[in-house]
Symmetry: C2
Subunit: 418 residues, 2 copies
Amino acid sequence: MLEQRKPIPVAEAVQRVMSKEITSKTEHIHIEDALGRTLAEDLTATHPVPPFDRSPYDGFAVRSADTVHASRENPLDLRVTETIGAGAVQSVPVLENEAARIMTGAMMPAECDAVVMLELTSEPEPGVMRIKRSFNKGDNISFKGEDAQEGTVLVEKGSVINPGTVALLATFGYETVRVASKPVVGVLATGSELLEVNEPLEPGKIRNSNALMAAAQIKRAGAEVKMLGKLTDDLEACYQSVKEALNEVDILITTGGVSVGDFDFLPEVYSRLGAEVLFNKVAMRPGSVTTVAHLNGQFLFGLSGNPSACYVGFELFTRPVIQRMLGNEKPHLPVEDAVLGADFTKPNPFTRFVRGTASIKHGRLEASPSGFNKSSAVSSLAATNCLIILPGGTRGFTAGDQVKVALLETAESSGMPW
Amino acid sequence: MLEQRKPIPVAEAVQRVMSKEITSKTEHIHIEDALGRTLAEDLTATHPVPPFDRSPYDGFAVRSADTVHASRENPLDLRVTETIGAGAVQSVPVLENEAARIMTGAMMPAECDAVVMLELTSEPEPGVMRIKRSFNKGDNISFKGEDAQEGTVLVEKGSVINPGTVALLATFGYETVRVASKPVVGVLATGSELLEVNEPLEPGKIRNSNALMAAAQIKRAGAEVKMLGKLTDDLEACYQSVKEALNEVDILITTGGVSVGDFDFLPEVYSRLGAEVLFNKVAMRPGSVTTVAHLNGQFLFGLSGNPSACYVGFELFTRPVIQRMLGNEKPHLPVEDAVLGADFTKPNPFTRFVRGTASIKHGRLEASPSGFNKSSAVSSLAATNCLIILPGGTRGFTAGDQVKVALLETAESSGMPW
């Protein structure tokens, strides 16, 4: 008797996964390794930025009160006390009718409240500068704290560190920064038809593309990969391999072997392990056989052996778990409105995730299928940067329709979008 | 006498940089390291995909001619010759009124031309399968070459390798792949006000955020970083450091020291090196002092010492050179239409590149300033994922205006967008 599986909606499947407790580990890393990692603590301004009033230009620091009557007709000469270079501080006070030569970024002398750009001055005699207009208090000063006040949270925990974040980490002296540890995701392939990438093609066989593809998806999602090889067509050996793998990884992905065929051992392996199967059939194309099991806080993702189905299953179910482990409060693919670029006139009872290419044209997002559209397709995946979501039902879709697309190659994420 | 520099338009500045010959190197890397690298050769299908006609389901391979009269009233029994597992090939021919049990992905027996899904069959006695409808030639077969024909270029040289590309590399047996070598970009900071990230703050000084920020930008752009420390305030030492640095890197970035202040030594260093200064003033805000020089095929990018100006100068001028070295025919930031989210009522004669946050809302791109907007600003850079381009002139801009934005965190690139 063939097992009858009951498909559940995608949103419910995702919900079942994400409702499990998902914990993060953290570690300290050097700032030079921080790009792309996820902050495990708020980045707070530990001092004002700038930390002192400073000059934004090369010029002269003046006391504005001295300049009140300066004009073209009535030029004002000020005695220059010294030159304050960037990084230096004044060594003498600036008294009435005096000015200090000051460099870009240098700290203002305490007695001065305006900066005159070098271009607006002349030097009637050595040690004297001349101006021909008045200046107001505060003219051309970068004020202490104008960029950031001490104590302000500038980047929130859970954010991915970009070059701007690195600049802030450096500004505040974070030589190391606490980030979420990368979860380790193991990849086990199943399928007697699978050759390794370095083996010559044989009749009836194909090279294993899923394991390396999944490894790349894992890295793109921010986690670390552990390649665990291939399961054999022997139930006992499969069971042992999976059990051992679980000791080495935070998350285990298998590709293939989750269907109801004679050599699909994974359902039996889950049962023997005592894992809770969260679902084994999802109302989606491709990837309806995607299975997720859970055991002692660990997830086992049984992805399809079909490349496109494997790809989609990973992005919908595995990626958000990785992202949550990285501390991302919005762990899902960002889903946006887009204009559909092709017809899908045949309705499908299941929700379709069509591998697509999205681009912004004249400010609007457009998405078209990236190529051959079967669950077994591999060629279209290279051009795929989004999944076009076509809800299941009795209607087809035509080019120009407004649809939702899940974007794969942006730095953004979303909350529960399904 | 203060040097008078003539600002040139951004487009012309970019043009001067990109009109220089920019050469790439290539290397072979292992497929497991390929994610994010740039293909240095076309990825061509070396065999059809699938490589043979195969079954997309678990079921039975049949000869459709045998099934012509099969119906609910007139069920057809076929003798089962054998089970063909995935990866196996038939061992006996399938003769008239025979069928072969076949697994998902297994090669079709030569005599069969349709597959019957397991669910549509019954087993009236061991070794016999029964169907109650007819099947047509070609039903449920994944045909040889339907996904990709041999010889087709599936991914073009110059493309960034994504997980789908990795799947294709694996499919066609590329254990190693030829990619563009990452250019090595050196970073030298200037400025006596600069403390290292691990030094405590001192009056008048700030920590060096530009060098580490530029390092992160270099990595994000796909290149390798060489941190070269800090130049001193001594012309001869500066000259020696820059000269030595050029032996170690493909591209040299300096931050600060390009202005016309007393301690801005880089113009003199370029002159002593005999480097051709492509420009030293650009009609843009921030970053108008950005200087680019060229010497024996090497670029020297003199970026501003102000964080925002440094950031923008890198993305406009350095990034495309790196991308071109990586073999990208479209090396520039993608520029898209967006709706402006804030007022910029004060006109500016120079083109402004406002650090902004862009997001897609209801299918349309919107962009707002990401925070404090001065060339010295650092706090806003962490939230920056685009540069909002406000052309110079006599008019201001208001929220709701259509503007162009250059996107920083997408996998896309563009041709000359300025």
